[in-house]
Subunit: 376 residues, 2 copies
């Protein structure tokens, strides 16, 4: 994809961090990306064995793409279109960052990390979301998302022990919503209805996703996400391209990209929570991998210094396969520390135990079909 | 499969209900079954939509077989081999029933239903399991299964409120284990080690499964189940045949089959629990459908008066797809009441809602691939 190679060819390209100039960043004029066939193919399915044969199998589709738009590798169908869910968050907050909104609000890395988060609803997350709203003169009731039980076990336990009520601030997307409300306030747009696809905040989010994904916005599917705002449907390869570009741009002078990735990788707890996979991964790997979970088995991540983006979808939406597949892909690209820390080994090498505590099977990446011999 | 047609051709065939004579029942000498190609094929995959397109897809393999061994219908691979898990319970208890053990123990339908159960660990289940053990001079500690949180929400809540400790009696298989211990006692075999594949109780269970499934026992795979006893691997078509034969035999003079199915269908609560699918189904359908869940997406069931058996496996092991697929198959064979009672409509017609309570998608049986348009 040579049309994107020239983006960073001139040193110190003029990216303005304020409303108006180059609002979508370095890829704003790069045009649609057409992928060549994958350089390599692999199987990334995750199987569960019992007694050495495969009892269940999760099919995994995946794409690995570099910032030039080269499809380095595909698993099953790397062009499968699916809903990007929470993996889009870095791009949904980007217009606020790029327009100088963070400075005008006095927000720093904590607020930015929470805006990109699928957080665990722990007190730390809730407090930041609440203060973000307070800073723009709003409150919980202005959030368009509904309440749901905190995603992290610690969040659920602390809420129960506190006797406090469950609020919309506990919604894993409350940081994203607070940032969307802030963007509406700064634009002078109504905050009521900010979740509608026709609102300026959501139109800018769609345009941002389209630019970084290398797609015309009209080719991106729209529906309603779990938290009530628009959700985007696009091919896995374009999701991977977005993260590859974000990584590459962050190390090549694009300040908005750098700040978003720096916030996420330096505050893994705020992006997830005490028992959340992305948190565990980013804490173990350090600042060179950004990783973002989405619902229904979608995941997008990048190795930052190499500008390589990854996107995968577990066809059946299962988390049981999702994290194992993420780790397998990162391992293939030398994106994991060696030896693997215990916190990740628990996820990467999963053992099936029965109620007597005996190991009766394993969960791992394999090509074996149902009923076939797995590994001893 | 004409070799099984003659089994019931002579009226009043001599089935002995005591040790020795025809210990495996009417199919003991029927020999291995070879299936002809399926008469019909269908897709039984379950998809989850968002905004009218398919977000996730669960592949479902299935077989529909009659008591003569005719493969009436297949979905994907009806000969897929997988672990039968808890669906084997009616056959694991059959040697006890057929040998006259129930009478010798003074056990009735409650004990028999619990022996066939994957129960919810509710007080009623625990009390029967405990009394079964007491009746043979044993106690919780003699169970080879481990303890696990009660499967039903009510069971978990009542245990928590009671302040009592979690025991092996709460294990969903405790009734099966108590019946296996009873069989060991009646045989004069050691109760210690009854869970080992080499124990007489487990050898008889394997032989029973083999006879009813129409397979040589050596072709049935063995491993360790979630509760510590042997688990059986066999093709879906043979699972379906077993249940078809069980249903047919129960209405054609085989007293052991009749008693097992009568216990299960007349005590749905004991076979499952207050919020368990099989219970909900059998309560709604009446006494003509027997239905048994297994872990990892396997399910076996039968329409009793027609002698039709069904087996399905959700390839990825998900319950989200499993119950929807069971209902779709039963509906196709007119095995469900019309109109569908609310308790089943909740399962059959599943709506995906976001945290705002808005409907954003559906869960239903469809041929559509990922990313394709589902239904509005």
């Amino acid at each position: 994809m040579s049309e994107t190679r020239s983006i960073f060819s001139g040193a110190g390209a003029p990216y303005a961090d304020s409303d108006g100039a180059l609002p979508q960043g370095p890829y704003a004029s790069a045009g649609p990306v057409v992928f060549a066939p994958a350089l390599r193919e692999r199987i990334l399915d995750v199987v569960i064995t019992r007694g050495g044969t495969v009892e269940s199998r999760h099919r995994v589709h995946a794409a690995v793409v570099d910032a030039n738009g080269t499809l380095l590798e595909g698993a099953r169908d790397p062009h499968t279109e699916t809903w990007w869910r929470s993996c889009a968050k870095p791009f949904q907050v980007m217009p606020l960052v790029r327009s100088g909104g963070m400075e005008r609000l006095g927000w720093g890395v904590s607020q930015l990390a929470l805006a990109c988060a699928s957080h665990g609803g722990e007190p730390e997350h809730v407090a930041i979301a609440e203060s973000m709203l307070a800073g723009i003169g709003l409150e919980e009731g202005d959030l368009a998302c509904g309440a749901h039980e905190p995603l992290s076990l610690r969040g659920a336990r602390l809420l129960r022990e506190s006797g406090d009520r469950l609020t919309r601030l506990h919604n894993n997307c409350s940081g994203k919503h607070a940032a969307m409300l802030a963007r509406a306030v700064l634009l002078g747009e109504p905050t009521s209805g900010y979740e509608q696809a026709s609102h300026a905040v959501q139109r800018a989010a769609l345009e941002t996703v389209a630019v970084w994904a290398g797609m015309p916005p009209e080719q991106i599917g729209l529906a309603v996400d779990g938290c009530g705002v628009p959700v985007f449907s696009l091919p896995l390869a374009n999701m991977a391209l977005s993260y590859a570009r974000l990584a590459h741009a962050s190390t090549h002078g694009d300040e908005a990209s750098r700040r978003i990735l720096q916030a996420m990788t330096s505050h893994p707890f705020l992006v997830g929570g005490s028992d959340r996979f992305d948190t565990r991964l980013m804490e173990a790997v350090g600042s060179n991998v950004v990783c973002k979970v989405g619902a229904e088995g979608v995941h997008t991540f990048a190795i930052i210094d190499r500008g390589i983006g990854f996107a995968l979808k577990v066809e059946d939406g299962s988390q049981r396969a999702q994290f194992v597949a993420v780790l397998a892909m990162l391992a293939e690209y030398d994106g994991l520390p060696s030896p693997l820390p215990e916190s990740l080994r628990e996820v990467a090498v999963r053992v099936v135990r029965n109620t007597r505590g005996e190991q009766v099977g394993e969960v791992f990446v394999s090509t074996a079909p149902l009923g076939a011999y797995g590994r001893a």
